[in-house]
Every structure is written in structure tokens, then in C-alpha cells.
Symmetry: C2
Subunit: 379 residues, 2 copies
């Protein structure tokens, strides 16, 4: 086991009606609030009204920035940060899924340090402080509600990249499973894939961590049990709650303690697909993971066999990969690029992107040959 | 799933050599240090010297209180708090297992609030503040290094009881698995039992929490795999590390999120046995858990069957209990009072104690008939 520090500063409020404490919580930090959200679904489903009611109850001065996209753009962060800076906000309230909360994390850093957000993302500056962030989660998927990671894309530099900092943890996160009742089935499924992929990025990282491996195993089992059920009953509180909590635990440190690092090669592949074709993040992962496993199956056979054994009771690498593909298909997720209408005609463009950004894992490294081969395996 | 807040303020440093940061960490709080430890094993195994070297490196003024017993007494806490108060200490450094760290938690509250420690334990006063506590763990067992619980006993009132407060979390905990290399096999086994019992107290609590149940399952599996191995190779770093981390996760919140509460009836029984006979805590639990399961088997059959299914692949309650007993025996822990030479002649005394303190679970309640029956089942 590698040395590690177990510490997570986010205070996470989970359950029915928890946002009733949002107002008083925000007030701890001040009354000038920058409210961030996406493209309007929170207005249609009533969550926006609930949040605004809370902020009105403390007579907050609210500055809004909305329209953050599912694959979030640094341009939006730049604009949001300008509003925040101009109005000297005390706290950010981010209402949405991973894209909104990730954008809010970098917005907070950009405001507090008067720094260009992309310079932060590229680790060109080292922020020393931030402003407090309160997250109201509306999608079970990325785990951003209880971690220090954020992902953004930039059309000027042709990149979609991640940034990790201990300053990025939300101060508070509010997770009401009822807030996910209206998530459509496709995005619910993408969230299930995303959380599974997060545990696998840890599992295929570096360093032996027996208990963390076991946590990976049961978080995936939880996702595989309740994922299909929630698609059948989208307003079943228990199912939504189980998936929501599984998604948080998949990337709040728990699955990684005792490892040197996770791998994150599959996410790198997925980010490049999303960048080129605006594919939903989860859909890129259900395509990329099987391909990644096939690429690496002779390099890390023991790890894949251990996983297959724990999850499916098989000692066969092929059966393990087939079972993973079968599960992704069963929740209507694509497992090949052709499933999302990305055909042979796009192959060269994707390979070019992969070579240009030098997609890689932190542990399992890619040659250019691998970069081409993994695209072939995804076709 | 019940509503919950996931938050744990302890910063836990895990791994080889982590206490090399102890000095600088203590210095964050000040130079006047109250150093607490037990009956001298930390002096014999060199851990005391390592800690003192760290405190000397920051030129700390160190006030010592030692001699804290395995079943810790409020009298020691009272004396330690007087020393701390008199010298206006900035921080407590507690070096030891659960008894020392639990004592340190109440000492800290007693110093900060100028309050009688037993009044705190009995919830007769509500402490509003505490002084910072740094724990250096030398025994994998109680989980106190990352939670808000403390247990003390009082010979004047004939009680051994627990106290829980959000003020009780250590600021920092240092867990170096090498510091547990010299723990003798009997106490290593008691620690394994203790951590398993903690997960079961959560599992038999109130409220459906699917993922928390799964975490219970794998923490027990980890303990059952590495417990026997560490007895064979007490200086195997990986085995010690796995058990140490399992013990922390068994009672740092993870197994309880989504439940209304744990049960803790078995701990209440165990505390009364320890109180009367000074039996090591873990040894009381390996005796009390099988008896508790037998007492409750017709009341909560589904929960016991689910556990048996997950752990041993059986749907039989009897086989499940037998398997648990067999495991405890396999690591040389007692499963009956007669195994620790408490015979029929002590039965009435124990029943009297159980009736007097009205031992109970928080969820599964005891009648006086149950209190007698559970003693019979332990004989």
C-alpha cells in the first residue's frame, strides 16, 4: 500500500429536502452570490425556483450566469468570472451536473486570484486561494460534488483537459435524489457509466490497495444493480439515492487511497471524442473502456482477471470485457463509435486528434501505435 | 435511504514514516504540548522516542501524562486535564490505541470547557469548544482516529459508557502500520474483532442503506483475509496496513451513511463485561456478538441471512453464526465467557450488572428477559 492522506473537506448534505438549508448555508459566507447553472433544465423542473427562494430568504444579492454547456467551455468560465469579479461576490452557488460545478470551481479560482482560467487549467499559474463554492447537484455522475477535479474544454487550443487542486473542493454540496427524477434515461445511463469508469480509473492505477479494490468492486455492483432499475422507475427515490451516493463515492478519494495514482487514460480518450463530436461524456466512456481493456489485456491480465472474478465470477479476460460491454448495452449506452454514428469517414480525424493531444494514461502509457489501435478498437 | 451528512474533518496521514511530519503539524497549534500515552509499551518499542524527537525538533514544551489503562478510567482523564489546564496547553498529542485517544478526546473537552469529564460523558453539560488533538495510533482496532466517539469507565458510578460529539474528531491522525508491528497476537486479534463488530453495529442499525451494507461486507472480508495472515507474519507491512486501514473505515462514517443509526447493543454488553472483569474490549465482542445474533435471530432473520449470504454464501442463519464463531476462534478469540474463565459462579453478578445499567441497543431493544438470556447465551 502506498502512503496517502485521507481528508475530504466537503460537507455533503444528502437526502430529501436538504436544500432547505441552502440559504442559511450561503449566508455563512456572505450575501453576494454568483449563481451558475446550465441551459435551463433547472428552470423547467423547478429546482431553480427552489434555489432562488432560498437565496431570497436571506436577502441575497444574486448575480446569475447561465448557459453552461454539457461539455463545458472555458469561454463561459471567463465570462462568469468577470461577473463575479466585477460584483465582488462572496460565494458561488452552482446548480447542475458536473459541467456546471466544474465550471464553478475554475470560476472561483479565477475570481479569487484574478487569473485567466485557462492558465489555471494548464497549471501555468498556481492559485493560492479561492472563493467558497456551494454545489447543488442535479445529476449523479461525475463525483465533482466531493472532489478537487474539474474538466473544461477550449476551442482555441483544441483541448478538453482536467485540473485537480485541493482548493477545488466545494465547501458544501447538497444532494437531493429527487432533484434527479427528471434526468432523462440517456443521461442517467451516462452517469452510471461515468461512475463505473471512475472506479476503474482508480482500479487500473498504480499500487496495491486491497480494500480500495474491494470498494471499487461493490460500487460497481451497486451501479449494476440500481442502474437498470432506475431506468425503469425514474422517480423511485431509493434507486435514485443509491445511484447518486454511488457516484459520489466513486470519486471522492475512497477508491484511490493506498494507490500512487489512478490511470485516467480512458478519460483522456473520452475527452478527445467529446471535444471533436460533442459526445456526452458518459457515452464516450462506454465506448472507450472496452477498447482500452482490449488494448491492455496482454499487459495487465491479472488485474482484468481479478476484476472479472469479483464482478462476474469469471477468470476469462474476454468474458470480463464482454460482460462489461453487455452491461453498457443493457442500459442503452454505445459501445462502438458506429453506435453514435461516427463512421469510418471520421477515423482519421480522431486519430489525428489523439496523436496531436498525445492521449495518455498516468500509469499505462500509450505509444502512437496504441493511439491508432485504440481508435480502431472503438470503430 | 435516510438523510445524512457526509463530513469528516480529521486529516489522516497513513503510511511508512508519516510521523516525520508530526512536529511541524503540532507547531501549527502551538508549542505547549500535553503528551498522553499508556502503560509504557510505546517506550519499549521506540515510538515514544520518535514522537519526543519530533516535539523536540520544534522546541515544544511537553507536559506528560501516562499510565492510561486499556479500559480507560475517567480518573486518568481528570488528572490529565488538570495538568493540561494548569499549563495552558495548546494541543494534545495522544500516542496509543483507542483507550489513550479516547481519553485524550475527553481531556481536550475538559480542558477547553473547564468541565468535569464525567459530566461530559453523561451529556450533563454541552461542551462548545475543544483544544486540538493529534493522534498517533499504535493499535488497529477502535477507529477512534477518525471519528467523534470516546469510551470511558467510572468505578464510582459502576459504568463504562460512550460519548459522541463532532468536537471529538482528531485534527490530525498519524497511522504508520510499522507502529503496530509489535502488537502481540492477542491484541491484534481483538482489534480485528473490534473492527468487524463496528461494521456489524452499523449493519444491524436502522434504515436501508444498500451501498453502506456493501461496504460492511467488504471491510469484513478484508479483516477475515488479512487478520489470520498478520498473526502469522506480524511484521508484514502490507498485512498490517490492510488491517489498519480497514479498522479506520469500519467506524469513520462510511458504513453508516444512509442509516438512521447503528445499533450498539453488543458494545453495551461488551462494556459491561469489561467493566466487571477488566476483559479486553475485543474479547468481549467476540463473545457477545454470537450471543446477540442468537438472541435476535427470529427478530431480524432477513438481515442475518443477507449477511451470511454476502460473507459465507449461505442462506442459513445457524451456519452464518457458526461461521462467525469459527472465524473468531480461528484467530484465537474467545466466543464464550468460559473461554476467559468466567464461569457459572459469576453469572448472577453479570446479570445484575446488565439489569442495573439496562444494557440496550439503540435500535433493537432489550427486555430484562433478554438481558438474562443474552448472559445465558454467552456462558
Amino acid at each position: 500500500m502506498e502512503n496517502f492522506t485521507a481528508y475530504n473537506p466537503t460537507k455533503l448534505h444528502f437526502g430529501k429536502g436538504v436544500t432547505e438549508k441552502l440559504g442559511e448555508t450561503a449566508l455563512e459566507y456572505g450575501k453576494k452570490v454568483l449563481l451558475l447553472y446550465g441551459k435551463g433544465s433547472v428552470q423547467r423542473n423547478g429546482i431553480y425556483d427552489k434555489v432562488v427562494k432560498q437565496l431570497n430568504s436571506i436577502k441575497a444579492e444574486v448575480f446569475e450566469y447561465s448557459g453552461i454547456k454539457p461539455n463545458p467551455l472555458v469561454d463561459d468560465v471567463l465570462e462568469a468570472a468577470q461577473i463575479g469579479k466585477l460584483n465582488n461576490v462572496d460565494v458561488i452557488v452552482a446548480v447542475g451536473g458536473g459541467s456546471v460545478i466544474d465550471s464553478a470551481k475554475i470560476t472561483a479560482l479565477s475570481i479569487a486570484n484574478s487569473t485567466d482560467p485557462w492558465a489555471i487549467m494548464k497549471y501555468k499559474v498556481k492559485p493560492k486561494k479561492t472563493i467558497p463554492l456551494i454545489a447543488v447537484l442535479t445529476l449523479a455522475a461525475t463525483g465533482t460534488e466531493m472532489n478537487g477535479a474539474a474538466v473544461l474544454q477550449n476551442h482555441k487550443t483544441n483541448e478538453k483537459i482536467g485540473y485537480v487542486s485541493s482548493l477545488n473542493y466545494p465547501e458544501h454540496s447538497f444532494l437531493d435524489p429527487e432533484f434527479t427524477f427528471t434526468v432523462p434515461n440517456d443521461y442517467t445511463s451516462y452517469g452510471v457509466v461515468d461512475l463505473i469508469a471512475h472506479t476503474l480509473e482508480a482500479y487500473f492505477g498504480e499500487g496495491e490497495a486491497s480494500l480500495s479494490d474491494r470498494f471499487v468492486e461493490v460500487i460497481i455492483k451497486e451501479a449494476m444493480e440500481y442502474g437498470p432499475l432506475v431506468l425503469k422507475e425514474p422517480e423511485n427515490y431509493e434507486y435514485r439515492a443509491n445511484i447518486m451516493w454511488a457516484a459520489t463515492t466513486a470519486l471522492n478519494g475512497l477508491t484511490n487511497y493506498g494507490r500512487k495514482s489512478g490511470d485516467w487514460g480512458v478519460h483522456d480518450i473520452g475527452h478527445n471524442i467529446s471535444y471533436l463530436f460533442d459526445t456526452p461524456h458518459g457515452a464516450t466512456l462506454s465506448i472507450a473502456y472496452p477498447a482500452w481493456l482490449k488494448l491492455h489485456k496482454d499487459r495487465i491480465p491479472e488485474r482484468i482477471i481479478k476484476l472479472g472474478n469479483q464482478l462476474f465470477g469469471t477468470n476469462s479476460i474476454e468474458e470480463t470485457i464482454e460482460n462489461i460491454e453487455r452491461f453498457f448495452k443493457s442500459i442503452n449506452c454505445p459501445i462502438r463509435l458506429s453506435d453514435i454514428n461516427i463512421g469510418e469517414d471520421k477515423k482519421d480525424e480522431l486519430i489525428e486528434q489523439m496523436l496531436a493531444t498525445k492521449i495518455n494514461g498516468m500509469v499505462h502509457k500509450f505509444t502512437d501505435e496504441d493511439r491508432k489501435k485504440v481508435v480502431e478498437l472503438m470503430m
